[in-house]
Symmetry: C2
Subunit: 190 residues, 2 copies
């Protein structure tokens, strides 16, 4: 059977993240991806995780401590649109677009800040690195964000970047889907 | 790196096809998929391959003989829209939509016959079976066919069927993409 969409996102990340990797969870939420990433990067790697809600940091910290992984992650109470890292220093970035499950559904990611964040992530990304975006678009704001993000990634220059859409087409109710961007090479200078 | 689209199609098929499987190559073309499928089904399995051009059968026969796989395949000089097998007897079906490479480019698969063929394939398919459609749509007729096929597969009932789109979004010139349909269960009768 085809994997669940969140499992597919994890498969893509697993294939790319080696022990010692530096990775970003741009949308910490309840912390499940931060924990997953902390398992992948090993003792010598690091996860940098962002969220604008204190509740997200608290849940994530709790999960990490329970699994004895708290040394592998740094949590930032900050929008992913503000994240800043050196160029070509990051192996992978994950975004879960939408709202924090079981919390205030009026606080969602927004098209403009999401695209600013993806642009930043592209600059941080090593050649061979990967950005995985899981697009939840069942809510009103989500449809606008989906279109904006699709349009942005479709315009990324090939072959410097390769953009994958992995989507289940026939379930009703706008099921989430994956957009993944790999950085294949530096831009060619003529 | 993300796989080439034809390699991804083969990965999907490989995961599903066990030795002894009965599978269909609906669009034989130059025979590369028939050979690939013959390798997967083993000595006890069978590949049924269709094409309306004698040239396709000749090339395919030649390739099979070269690899000593001719016992594993039956080649039909017949449209895939005419293929007929018992219900739930087939493990996998592959379609390459478009024209036969290096041949008469006016002979292409057509929206109407393609959809008729996919409908047939859905009836032959075992529960747990898979249809893989590689959509080449760089030619004029291809754009019409692409839209018709997309619309058809989006309407397939979930959870009886699950339909996957796997597509690279940013290369120019309408690169081919994969639509894959798995049959998950029989229809529920209330």
């Amino acid at each position: 059977m085809f994997p669940r969409i969140t499992d597919y996102a994890h498969q893509l990340l697993e294939q790319r993240i080696q022990p010692g990797a530096h990775v970003i969870d741009a949308t910490m939420g309840n912390g499940h991806d931060t924990v997953f990433l902390a398992q992948q990067v090993g003792e010598t790697g690091k996860v940098y995780s962002f969220d604008i809600q204190q509740q997200a940091l608290d849940s994530t910290r709790q999960l990490l401590v329970k699994r004895h992984l708290e040394q592998r992650a740094r949590l930032f109470l900050q929008s992913h649109a503000m994240m800043d890292f050196p160029a070509e220093s990051i192996d992978a970035v994950v975004f879960n677009l939408g709202y924090l499950p079981r919390s205030d559904k009026t606080i969602t990611t927004q098209a403009e800040t999401t695209i600013e964040s993806i642009k930043r992530a592209l600059r941080f990304l090593k050649v061979g690195g990967l950005i995985v975006v899981v697009v939840y678009w069942g809510h009103e704001q989500g449809k606008i964000e989906k279109q904006a993000v699709e349009q942005f990634v479709e315009g990324l220059p090939f072959p410097e970047f390769m953009v994958l859409r992995y989507q289940y087409m026939n379930p009703l109710n706008q099921p989430p889907f994956v957009l993944a961007i790999e950085r294949r090479r530096r831009p060619t200078v003529d």
